[in-house]
Amino acid sequence: MDNTFHPLFYGFHFYLFSLIAIASALLFVTRKSPVAAALWLINVMFCLAALYVMLDAQFIGAIQVLVYAGAIMVVFLFVVMLLNLGRPGELADIRGLAPRLVAGGVGLALLAEVMVLARTRFPAQPLPAAAVGRLSAQGAGGVIAPVAGPLFREHLLAFELTSILLLAAIVGAVVIGKTREAGDAR
């Protein structure tokens, strides 16, 4: 995408969405109310979706909104509603000052290490273009085909296993979440 738009335009939006994502994430971890936190997380996901689109992963951006923000976070909110955890007053669960500072320090340490490792390990030059299947909007199938192709060809086994995983998760969730009745065998 970056070669069809003015770099400044692209860069500005990239940084815009990044900052919004970071701010949303920070707000997310500091909210007392689970509902507020969930909504801020959804905001983060929206920003990430925008970034995905900007990074030529349009399909991913779409399913990010559809699945992650639209399904998973909704489930979270459903559970919050089900357990009646919405009121902030009785849910002051953030720890005291000291643990928060230490946690912040640990997070910064983690960040620093990742930066150090990334700088030293990351290859300086990108791989030759021929070895990389560059995504493009041209060709049959549009932007989805480059993702779907490998998914159903080289990674078919993983795909099938994932579907089994989903089945197991469904069954498990139903079984675990079910209310126990008097006549149920354990």
Binding site: Y10, G11, F14, S18, A21, I22, A25, L26, F28, V29, P34, A37, L41, V44, M45, L48, L51, Y52, L55, D56, A57, I60, I63, Q64, V67, Y68, A71, I72, V75, F76, V79, L82, L83, L85, D93, I94, R95, P99, A103, G104, V106, G107, L110, V114, M115, A118, L135, P146, V147, G149, L151, T162, L165, L166, A169, G172, A173, V174, I176, G177
Partner: protein, 97 residues
């Protein structure tokens, strides 16, 4: 954009870690884990621009697994809530020993 994307991914991941360490509410803890997963997804996508579609394929799988995990995890939290009337993690310590 690659380096910035990866930096953003690292920052979001770090924020997710801080959230996991700090929060006691089980559901919010879960959501922090989701944030971490999202950060990693961003990493994958950013690198897929360089290395091909495999990154995006993997993101699909990550999302699928995240969905399954969220479902099951929330079911467990509901089950625990039914017993203890609380989602405060400090109260759930039967494994102490």
């Amino acid at each position: 954009m690659l380096a910035e994307s990866l930096a953003l991914s690292a920052v979001l991941f770090g924020i997710g870690v801080v959230g996991v360490l700090t929060r006691r509410n089980a559901i919010i803890l879960f959501m922090c884990v989701e944030l971490m997963l999202n950060a990693v997804n961003l990493s994958f996508v950013a690198l897929s621009k360089l290395y091909g579609a495999t990154g995006q394929v993997f993101v699909v799988f990550v999302m699928t697994v995240a969905a399954a995990e969220a479902a099951v995890g929330l079911a467990i939290i509901i089950a625990i809530f039914r017993h203890r009337q609380s989602v405060n993690l400090d109260d759930i310590n039967l494994l102490k020993g």
